[in-house]
Symmetry: C2
C-alpha cells in the first residue's frame, strides 16, 4: 500500500483481515506511528517499501492523491518496475496517461473503489468500508490477464463487488455520480447559509443534499479538477436543466418538466438491476470487451471469475 | 385531521398515542377504510367531520395538498368557523393569504412539521415521524395566544421541537433547505441517467444527492410552485454559483471558490446550536417578536412554555 489515507488505510485493513500479507508506506511519521500502533507493518521510507515489493513481486496499490502520483511513479520505475501495479484514485484517464508516461503501462490495471465517507485520513479508515461497494477495475485494451486477476482478487477480498469498465467510461460516469453531486452539494450549502432561519429548519433533504459538502475541500477539488474534461459537459447539462426549470417557474409557474424527468430517472436507478457476471473467462477471446459491455449493463463480479489456463 | 396522507396520517397516529381525542376526514374511501382498519375514527364525509369539530370546538388540522385548500376553507367557514385552526402545509405565506381571504384569520395559526420521507399516503404514515423534527409554528402579528398554545401542545405531543417563525421567513428558509434541494436532486438524477455506466457506479453521494427525487412529482411540484416567489431568487443564486464554478474550471482548472465556501457553510451548519427557548411567556408583551427572534437564532421549544394568566 502506497498511501494510508481513508481509502489506502481501509484497503490495508480489509486485505489484512482477508489474510493477505500486506505492508505499506505513508510519508507522514504520525500516520506511520498510528498504523503501527494498530498492528500494521508500515514505513515512512518509500524506497524501502518499494524494494521490499520488488523482492516479492508484490502487487503495488497506489493510494495517494493525484498530485502526488508522478513522484510515486518515478520511484516505482526506479525501484520496482516489474511489480504488478494498481491504484485507487478516483479519476482513471489521468492516471492511465501518467502511468503510460512513466513506461509502466504493461503491468498496470487501474482501479477505483467507489466508497468513501465525509471523513478522511488513517483515523477514518475502516476495513468494512468496501463491503458491497462497487470497485471499478479497468478493462482497457492493454490490461494483462495476471495483473487483472490479482486486482480482482484484492477487490473481492475487501468484499467489494467488481465493476469492469473502460477508463474513459468510468470517468464520465464518475463525473455524473460523484463529482457533479459534490458541486451541487457545495452550492446548496452555500445558498442556504445566506438565508436567515435556514439552518434552524434544516431537515432530511438539506442534510442529505449537503452531506458530501463535509468532505475536505482539497479532496473535492482534486477529484473535480482532475476530471474537468468529463465534468464540464455535465455541469453545462445541469445548468441548462435548472435554468429551464427556473424560466418555467417564472413564466408558467411550473417545474413539471424537470420534476417529472428527475423522478423518472430516480425510479430507473432504484430498479436498476445488478446481474452477476459469471460467464466470462479472463483471458479468453474478447474478454476485455465482454467485461466492459457487461459492466455497462449493470453487471458485477461477486466471486472470482475463471482464468484461461489452469487457474480458477 | 382534515386529510390523512403521510403527514396528516402521522399526526393522527402521534396525537392518538399521546392521548388526544382525535378524529379525521379523508376524501378517499380506500384511505378511510385503511385508517379504520388501523383503529382510527375517520370518515369520508367532510361536513360531518367538521360539524363534529364545531360541537366540541376541536382544533382543526388541515393536512391536504395546497390545491385542495380553498374547498376545505370554504367548508370550514360554513360549518365550523369558530374552531381553532392550523395546517401542516409546507408553504406558509400562501396558506395565510387564503385563510385571510376566507375570513378565518382570527382563529388560525399556521404550522409546518419539517419531516417527510420519499413515500407518501396513509400507508407510509408513522406516529414517530416527527420525533426530534422541527415543527414550525407561525408567530405572525395576528396569532392568538390560546390557539398558539394548542398548536404548540399538539407539536410537542408528536415529540417534535417547535421552531417559532414568521410565515415569510419560513417560506424563504423552506425554499433554501427543502424546495431547492428537491430541484437539484431532480437535475442530478436526470443528468446521471443519460450517462452510460453511471447507475452501475452510483454510490453514497449519488444515492444521498438524489434521495428526494424519489418523492412523488405532484408533491414536489406543489411545494415548489406554491413558493415560487421565494424559490426563484435562490435558484438564480445557485445558477450563478454553478456557472462561476463551471467557468473557473474551464478557464483556470479550479473549483476552489465554490468548494471552499460550500464546505465552510456545511461546517457552520454542523456546528449550529439549538438552544432551548424557556424564558418567553406566551401572551406577554412582544411575545411574538421575542419568539421570532429566538427561532431565527436557532432556538427551539422542547417543553411547553408558560402562558400569561393561570395556565402553564
Amino acid at each position: 500500500m502506497v498511501g494510508l489515507g481513508l481509502i489506502g488505510g481501509s484497503v490495508m485493513r480489509a486485505a489484512a483481515t482477508a489474510g493477505h500479507d500486506v505492508f505499506g508506506y505513508n510519508r507522514s511519521v504520525d500516520v506511520v506511528q498510528a498504523a503501527r500502533f494498530d498492528g500494521f507493518d508500515v514505513t515512512d521510507n518509500l524506497d524501502e517499501a518499494l524494494a521490499r515489493a520488488a523482492d516479492s513481486t508484490a502487487l503495488i496499490v497506489i493510494a495517494v492523491p493525484m498530485p502526488a502520483l508522478p513522484r510515486m511513479l518515478e520511484r516505482i520505475r526506479a525501484v520496482a518496475p516489474d511489480c504488478p501495479l494498481t491504484d485507487v484514485i478516483s479519476v482513471k484517464g489521468g492516471v492511465l496517461e501518467q502511468v503510460k508516461g512513466f513506461g509502466l503501462l504493461e503491468r498496470f490495471v487501474g482501479g477505483h473503489p467507489m466508497a468513501g465517507t465525509a471523513h478522511s485520513g488513517w483515523a477514518a479508515s475502516d476495513g468494512r468500508l468496501f463491503v458491497g461497494a462497487p470497485w471499478v477495475i479497468s478493462v482497457d485494451e492493454h490490461v494483462d490477464v495476471d495483473v487483472w486477476t490479482l486486482v480482482m482478487d484484492l477487490a473481492l477480498s475487501c468484499q467489494a463487488v467488481v465493476v469492469p469498465a473502460r477508463s474513459d467510461e468510468h470517468d464520465a460516469a464518475a463525473a455524473s455520480i460523484s463529482h457533479l453531486p459534490h458541486l451541487l452539494a457545495e452550492s446548496l450549502a452555500l445558498t442556504a447559509s445566506e438565508v436567515p432561519l435556514a439552518f434552524a429548519l434544516a431537515a432530511g433533504s438539506f442534510r442529505d443534499g449537503t452531506r458530501v459538502a463535509g468532505t475536505a475541500p482539497s479532496l473535492v477539488r482534486a477529484m473535480c479538477e482532475a476530471n474537468a474534461d468529463e465534468l464540464l459537459p455535465l455541469l453545462d447539462r445541469t445548468l441548462t436543466q435548472l435554468k429551464d426549470a427556473r424560466d418555467g417557474l417564472a413564466a408558467q409557474g411550473s417545474v413539471a418538466e424537470l420534476v417529472e424527468a428527475g423522478h423518472a430517472a430516480r425510479m430507473r436507478y432504484e430498479s436498476f438491476s445488478r446481474p452477476d457476471i459469471i460467464a466470462t473467462v479472463i483471458g479468453a477471446d474478447n474478454w476485455r470487451d465482454e467485461l466492459a459491455a457487461a459492466g455497462r449493463a449493470g453487471g458485477v463480479i461477486r466471486s472470482a471469475l475463471p482464468v484461461l489456463g489452469n487457474r480458477g
